[in-house]
Symmetry: C2
Subunit: 454 residues, 2 copies
């Protein structure tokens, strides 16, 4: 059953590609990697570049794009497979669903592979097939070369901004992520461990038949930026940082963080720092519009955080000097956000090719080097805005760092904020012609409103 809106979006995407890229393109979907034995796999996740043009997550399939036409390559299931996996739609039905112009068994791909460009998939097994079928080495996506590099640039120019079909999916993912966070807050009063809150949040995502776009962070140790452990007990006085986002069946992601008090009520020190992070969050979103440099949004967050910490007596000095010296990064060591799309860090498989405008490179500065996006904003770009405040022992206990910043940090004053390990407030922000639209705006950010959830 063709979905006309999907089919027409997919057709537009490949016509756009044809306008800017001449050679034939073959994109593979990949296979599910084994967990502990071949029949026990991780859930299948199709390559995002495949999904962008094919629309549906077909395992072990490939598409060939040329002149705006799509050929689908996949094998039909065997009769034995029907016993285990049910009646799967036939190749021709799938071809119709996605508006393919032709459909063939995988074995035919070999004869249609001449001079084709591709993007290396993450799945190593399929990656080896890419080299075999194209009869040349296919470098990893982040190190693409020659025709593959040109293709990557062309795909980036399409995927950087989202069409209506994509935005509808991104909205669905955002809406379910909001529900997940509400469920996490609702579960907090009776939860005894991080794991119980994580369970309540992911359960909401699963109940909508979606998956998690990334490994959830649900922790009272928010200072560990990529914390994927959930065993800590919840203690009164703890803040809980929850970074949990849904992904739709078609692969579109969302990325959402809130921080709340385990008791439901922030302590005065927690609230003070929460307000600093929130001020940065709000200032960034307020400032965003087409043409604005995302790097400037990051530096704005840095300035607002530095100013807030000066106001609280934690930092001392001129805000502009503090930011120039990266003093903000003692407490806000990551970038203010990144692209969101089919990947939660969209197109990060291509290294910085998508995140960084041509000719720009990562900064060596501690306060800028972790910035994942450095481009002027464009209408229909989706980015996160996620300022934070963290007390990371690896940074703040480092003798060299302490000595370097001894004149700007009031360590005694900082000690009074020891009940704040990590705070982050993150929303998914769509750039529009007029300014922005926050896709995750239904979830409160104000401290009062968050407390009212309890």
């Amino acid at each position: 059953m063709p979905n006309h809106s999907l089919v027409s979006s997919l057709q537009q995407r490949r016509q756009h590609l044809a306008q800017i890229f001449d050679a034939p393109v073959i994109l593979w979907s990949g296979t599910a990697p084994s967990r502990n034995f071949p029949a026990n796999t991780f859930p299948f996740r199709a390559s995002s570049h495949f999904l962008y043009f094919a629309g549906v997550p077909l395992e072990n399939a490939a598409i060939r794009l040329e002149g705006g036409k799509l050929e689908l390559f996949m094998d039909e299931e065997s009769p034995e497979s029907a016993l285990w996996h049910g009646e799967i739609p036939k190749r021709d039905e799938i071809a119709q669903t996605i508006g393919a112009d032709a459909a063939y068994p995988l074995a035919e791909l070999d004869s249609r592979a001449a001079n084709a460009a591709t993007v290396a998939v993450q799945d190593i097994k399929t990656n080896q097939q890419q080299s075999e079928i194209l009869n040349r080495p296919v470098a990893p996506a982040h190190a693409a070369k020659g025709i593959d590099l040109e293709l990557a640039k062309a795909i980036i120019s399409l995927r950087l901004t989202h069409d209506a079909e994509a935005i509808a999916e991104l909205r669905k993912a955002a809406a379910v992520s909001v529900e997940a966070h509400r469920a996490g807050m609702a579960a907090t009063p009776t939860a005894k461990t991080e794991a119980e809150i994580r369970a309540a949040m992911e359960s909401e995502i699963l109940a909508h038949d979606m998956s998690c776009a990334y490994s959830s962070i649900v922790t009272v140790h928010g200072e560990v930026l990529h914390n994927n452990q959930y065993h800590h007990p919840l203690q009164p006085g703890d803040l809980l940082l929850a970074d949990v986002g849904a992904e739709t069946a078609m692969g579109w992601a969302s990325d959402l963080t809130r921080t709340w008090a385990v008791t439901g009520k922030f302590s005065p020190t927690q609230r003070d720092l929460y307000e600093v992070v929130l001020a940065a969050h709000d200032a960034c979103i307020e400032k965003m519009r087409p043409g604005v440099e995302y790097r400037d949004i990051h530096l704005l967050a840095a300035s607002v955080i530095a100013q807030g910490l000066v106001d609280l007596g934690i930092l001392q000095g001129q805000v502009s000097d503090l930011v120039e010296r990266d003093a903000h990064a003692l407490f806000f060591p990551h970038g203010v956000g990144h692209l969101v799309g089919l990947d939660v860090h969209d197109m990060e498989d291509l290294g910085d090719l998508a995140g960084y405008e041509a000719g720009r490179k990562r900064s060596d500065r501690f306060g800028l080097g972790f910035l994942r996006l450095n481009r002027p904003l464009q209408p229909s770009m989706l980015v996160t805005i996620e300022p934070g405040f963290y007390q990371v022992p690896a940074i703040l206990k480092d003798p060299q760092t302490r000595s370097k910043y001894q004149d700007v940090v009031n360590w005694e004053r900082l000690d009074q904020f020891s009940d704040v390990r990590g705070i982050r407030i993150e929303d998914d922000v769509l750039v529009t012609e007029e300014g922005t639209q926050v896709l995750t705006a239904d979830l409160p950010t104000q401290a009062d409103e968050i407390e009212q959830q309890f």
Copy 2:
């Protein structure tokens, strides 16, 4: 902090290995495969053979076993990594936790690799390292050769039966799986889709900080044996088949299936067939004890099901003839169960080497060929008992099959049972000296008791 009971179990396991295997052994843990870009990975799952001897899931680590001694090889985290992943225990602390005799950086492995045997891991990246470091091709685990095959056989002889440490973990996994099924039943009256019940079940597993041992099956289409879709709405009259099992943090699995009515109450036809499956389940467990052939348990299930279907008028003829002709397999096409341990199909990475006693091979018979275990039972073996009844269109609509079995199936009578697509009742059964102990026995199997959950 060493866990003395774990350390002593791990020491015993490697001493047992040393008694039956002479050469040095190197086992790798593997790495987490990428999902859609390198930093977005699936959850890390260590190789089960590594876990068996090392006890804890260390990513990108290796152990070398010789003469009962264990050397641990892993790299310490970099200071930058501490920012993202927190303070991870040092190598020497981990070595102490698992009772290692020595600990080195990974780079040292090269110089300690001479003449070592190994088991190929599932993770392809690590598998390539295995060949490089051992300086020889390492065939996939299911096709192990030479010294690696000898090692696989030695490990199987250990892992076939479980020590007290393992049984304690298997009990924990079973207990949480039971809770997950209770949660699934509790969620059913208000759930509108399969996805909502799946969410309630997996949430219970996550809340205990465990993971799913395999992709959950939660479906009103139980006739699709490996159904991993959850989008169907729940309709009155549907049976729901839920095959969901937890895995502990140390990797020990459980595997548990129940089938219940979406309304909470079986129809008379559903109950009739449920009773047939339950009779097979109970008869198998009743018959199990050390020395009994698991194949005979499978054939017993086949006979009880055939007898039940004769009693219901669905099959006609002598039960022994029906089973010999594989008529039971029209409705019960899979094996009655398999080994359970660190893998939910334990050691299936080694093909049939673990499941099948030396010299035995899979049968060509439709009614026996899917049997995953064909050995005499031994004390401390954990196996599933999971008879089922399914109406699989790929089997029952096949003209050849219909003609072959036209004299034994009463198709009109079968039509009266059209509200049964799939029923399975599965428990984890530990073989003891005296007979059996059902680790998942806290979850009811009787139709009346299941109805009382609603």
